[in-house]
Amino acid sequence: MKPENPAAGQPEKTGAPAKAEKPKKVVNEREARRLIEAALYASGYPLEPKTLCSITGITSKRLVSEIARGLAESYRVKGGALEIVELEDGRFVMQLKSRYVKKIRRLTLKPLLTEGPLKTLSYIAYRQPVPQAKVVGVRGPQAYQHIARLLEMGLVEREKLGKTSILRTTKIFADYFNLSRDLRLMRRQLEKLFEEKGWKPGEEETPPMSQAGQKLPAEVKTAPQPA
């Protein structure tokens, strides 16, 4: 092991020394695409076209966005577990398709949200702006912990309105699902997302959750999980 050589053990033997620390020169489109892919993979957060320009050395934001869009399309066509999403504001992000998240939970070094906080998040997103007391009333007292975690992660924000605490989702939340920042529009988008999961707003039929220990009626009222 040669820790002083960071590339040690990398099976790649391209022989091409990575000399370009300053990729200012215009690179070809294929290379730009790879650089964008590298940047999106490494960052773990949405990147602006401006940043992608600086990484690739391309000066046109439009061009860089086009290349990124092409990359996103190639991911979509390949149909793998990863996706590159262009957000409403023109930023790009690489992520795991959400249906795979549960399955890889134990492998990640990044602690992930469990089902409880995720449901609380769903509820806040659906009913926002919603008083904290209502969220707790529906989700049970453990919602206080969920809310604390969601606040910590920046997915939800709390605002004092007199004696009441009002909760709503943040831009970070909207970024994750590429939702509109307009609350009404977001609600419609969310309804669509929920429908895709087999849930219809206001529908009475709500088979009990399979998990044991679901004591709160609110918990029982949730729609079945997709397998």
Partner: protein
Amino acid sequence: MSSEKKPFWLKPPWQVLFDLARLSKVRPWDLNIATLLSSFLKEMKQMGYVDFNASGTALLSSSIVLRLQSERIFEAEMEEEKKGFERIFDYVPPPLQLPFRFELTITGLEDILAVLDEVLKAEKAGALVKVKRVEPPPGDLFTEYDKMVLQWEQQLETFYDKLKASIPEGEILFSKLAGGLPWKEIVKIFLMLIFMASKGLVELYQAEEFSDIKIVLKSKAVEGESRLET
């Protein structure tokens, strides 16, 4: 005593600070303690001498008002929290699974080695710190508070129900109630009683300092009255 001979502090607006019976009736947030005290001090200075008795009383009253003010806030919060725990039915949509985004980190083995050297130096220097087990750091203050209030409310409720069930006569002495219990429990019961008294669930009577406390369940009394009426 004619009003002319009264010291200035027994006149409005300072009078309220020297009349405890009245103090308990005012709405604490109607009093501007800061203004009241600064004008009181100004008047006192003008008098040419300081009456420590009066100043002490003013101080005591101010602290009572401040306490009442904070209690009001607390009550309001409690009210909100209580409302929060009422079970509400609403349709809860299914959980939205957040997509996972990998983050490449810049921590490598070299970083481990670099810091390890420092740590081993500290170890070698015998810089062993005597450490008491510390509790994990408090989480979100509001959450902790919320949890505490919830627990407290639940305990209070259970305790009150037990009390109602166990003393049909509606009153009991504290010594009888807490006798034989561990010290910690006694303190807990005492605090709960104080809390219940402030909520008007019980009345507490103590003939003199350090004497036994008589606890009278208010609902019992009310029920008793209503039974008598019928």
